[in-house]
């Protein structure tokens, strides 16, 4: 298993390198550039040329790329052309916020999605099943930002039972250790801070969880229905095993194989939804950095953000493959 993980991690390196080349070329093929964006109204050709020289954007692309790669290996992704701060420092602040939100969202999607999909399959063709199928269609179809705004309107503005935006109440004055608000509260024993952070997480993570959860429900349902028809389930029945053992050991374990693949793919897509959700709930994660970066043609920041997202995606899919190997002995590499 260790060798399997190591090999997959090594495989990720060329993937990321190829991706970095593509991002590099893609960003520089966009019309305009950071100099234009920075100068705005004060733009003249001379000023642009001067600024490009200062920022190093006047050099040939391949040279720029090699320099970028050289520095990136040492962990230096350059300075943002908008704020002038080191890109990694900028990202560091938003990263914890986005990861925390995405983590809660995917956990909600999994913890509710799998049992619901299973129940729908068990009551196949009956009311619960039909309701679930309709519900998941709605879940997939409703845009994240709309659901987010709706939840905010009902639970924060009208009912006033949950906070409308932000990650934590400023009056809590929580100590920052890791940047993960819920974890920090536990580490520093400021439990009111953790509780407050959790309250803030509810609405955005539900909004963000809606689509992956709907997909997980549907895949689980279809997969359980498939497995129920399998011969080995009939064998298990012929052994007179209890329904609990048959469900847990024989049905669910097999049904989870396609579900784990789906979870991996959905976690990757979650980052896109996170950008929108963060906007609605004023979350202050990577979403706003990304949006601003695109608007202002901030090459260093965008390069780092996209590569980060890709790395997370690669890592999540590695986890999926590992979980696959744990569930299914047939894919284990000897």
């Amino acid at each position: 298993m260790l060798r399997f993980v190591a090999r997959r991690l090594l495989q990720a390196i060329p993937t990321l390198i190829i991706l970095s080349i593509l991002i590099f070329a893609w960003l520089r093929s966009l019309p305009g550039g950071p100099a234009q964006a920075l100068l705005g109204d004060k733009w003249t050709p001379e000023k642009e040329a001067q600024l490009n020289a200062t920022l190093g954007f006047d050099q040939p692309i391949w040279l720029q790329y090699l320099k970028f790669l050289g520095r990136a290996i040492t962990g230096d992704f350059g300075n943002s052309s908008v704020s002038g701060l080191p890109v990694l420092q900028e990202i560091g602040q938003g990263f914890a916020a986005t990861i925390e939100l995405s983590f809660f969202a995917i956990v909600i999607a999994i913890v509710l999605g799998i049992p619901l999909g299973y129940l729908a399959a068990r009551f196949h063709g009956r009311l619960l099943d039909n309701l679930t199928v309709i519900g998941t269609l709605v879940g997939v179809a409703v845009p994240v930002f709309f659901l987010g705004a709706l939840l905010k309107f009902v639970f924060a503005d009208e009912l006033g039972i949950l906070p409308p935006s932000g990650r934590q109440d400023v009056t809590i004055n929580a100590t920052t250790v890791t940047g993960f608000a819920t974890v920090d509260g536990l580490l520093t024993r400021e439990f009111d801070a953790t509780w407050d952070a959790l309250l803030h997480l509810i609405l955005p993570s539900i909004a963000l969880a809606s689509i992956p959860m709907a997909v997980i429900v549907r895949i689980t349902r279809a997969s359980v229905l498939d497995v129920l028809d399998e011969d080995f389930v009939r064998t298990a029945e012929s052994k007179g095993l209890t329904t609990q053992v048959i469900r847990r050991r024989h049905v669910l374990r097999n049904a989870l194989l396609p579900v784990s693949t789906t979870i991996g793919l959905q976690t990757g897509l979650l980052l896109a939804g996170a950008v929108l959700t963060e906007k609605v709930f004023n979350w202050g994660g990577l979403g706003s950095l990304l949006a601003e970066g695109i608007e202002r043609k901030d090459y260093p920041r965008l390069q780092a953000l996209i590569l980060l997202a890709a790395s997370v995606y690669v890592l999540v899919n590695l986890l999926v493959d590992v979980s696959y190997a744990i569930i299914d002995p047939r894919v284990r590499v000897s």
Partner: protein
């Protein structure tokens, strides 16, 4: 008292938007302790459905089961789901056709054997493992201790079927149902599995219902043979009698369509024409009549009943005459 008494068993499948389909229609037979009974027929004749009905494994929502199945005097159809679960795997064991798909691919062989021991014989995990080793050994799996921790895909087809037999026999059931246990296997392995089954039930009180389309399997194993066609028994006889003189044209056709080593070179096989119709119209004459070489006018007008005929049960208006057997049979057509 018979170990198993099946009376007037019928199974009707109904599906939304489709007319109900009668898969088994008034099947009756009994099995004595230690006896081996064959259910023979081609695909769709209702033999597997009969066995699943006895085991209580038919989908409750789409299959309507009628008649009665008494096991040691207890009516199985009147048992609750839980009571039936207590008997399955303990009193009634079953071996299925395709050993690869019948074993759970993600659960080690060992657990698939021990779970039934834990369930019905109340064994602890460790004790059950020792017993499982013993069982695998008994069904001829070499190095059983190692095999226990392996998964189905690591075993050969024959090994898998041996493992399934070990599972079915783990609690020493009084009745074992084998549904085409050799169909998915190589010919050489088929013979091994058959002799294993024979060896395991011979001299024990365990009765065996052998379900097959292969009369060769029946010939080597069964005491009594029921031939099914279109969900009904068309002929029942003691094994030697059946092979010596099949009287139903269908049974005769089945025997005649087996390739023979001693046949003259160039002689063609004689298949039974056509195939089993989807829905069997037993209410308007004999269901086999359209394919029958002996069909008379009565056959398509009057439905034949299962009646005693020279020491055997037969459902036919115009049985094959013993004199017309053997070489003469081809000219008789």
């Amino acid at each position: 008292m018979a170990l198993l008494e099946v009376r007037d068993l019928s199974v009707v499948f109904s599906r939304k938007g489709q007319s109900p389909f009668s898969a088994v229609d008034g099947v009756s037979f009994s099995v004595q302790p230690g006896q081996t009974v064959g259910l023979v027929g081609e695909s769709g004749c209702g033999k597997s459905v009969t066995s699943l009905a006895i085991m209580g494994l038919l989908p409750r929502r789409s299959a309507r089961v009628g008649g009665s199945v008494a096991f040691e005097g207890t009516e199985l159809f009147s048992l609750s789901d839980k009571e039936m679960r207590d008997r399955r795997g303990k009193d009634l064991g079953m071996v299925f056709q395709d050993p690869l798909s019948s074993l759970n691919p993600v659960v080690p062989i060992g657990l698939q054997v021990t779970e039934v021991l834990e369930r019905h014989r109340g064994m602890a995990r460790k004790q059950a493992r020792a017993e499982a080793t013993e069982l695998l050994n008994k069904v001829g799996i070499p190095d059983p201790t190692r095999r226990l921790s392996e998964y189905p895909h690591q075993l050969s087809g024959g090994m898998r079927q041996r493992a399934l037999i070990a599972i079915a026999l783990a609690c020493r059931p009084r009745l074992l149902i084998a549904d085409e246990p050799t169909t998915a296997l190589d010919v050489t392995i088929q013979a091994q599995i058959l002799s294993l089954l024979k060896e395991l039930v011979a001299g024990t009180e365990t009765a065996l219902i052998m379900i097959t389309h292969d009369l060769g399997v029946v010939a080597g194993l069964c005491d009594e043979v029921n031939v099914l066609y279109g969900g009904r028994i068309v002929e029942r006889a003691e094994r030697h009698e059946l092979f010596a003189a099949p009287r139903h044209p269908y049974t005769h056709g089945l025997l005649d369509s087996i390739p023979r080593l001693d046949a003259a070179r160039g002689e063609k096989l004689s298949p039974i024409r056509g195939s089993v119709a989807d829905n069997i119209p037993w209410d308007g004459g004999c269901a086999f009549a359209p394919r029958c070489p002996n069909a008379l006018r009565t056959c398509v007008e009057v439905t034949p009943e299962l009646e005693w005929h020279e020491g055997r049960l037969l459902r036919c208006h115009n049985p094959v005459q013993p004199a017309a057997l053997g070489v003469g049979s081809k000219e008789a057509r």
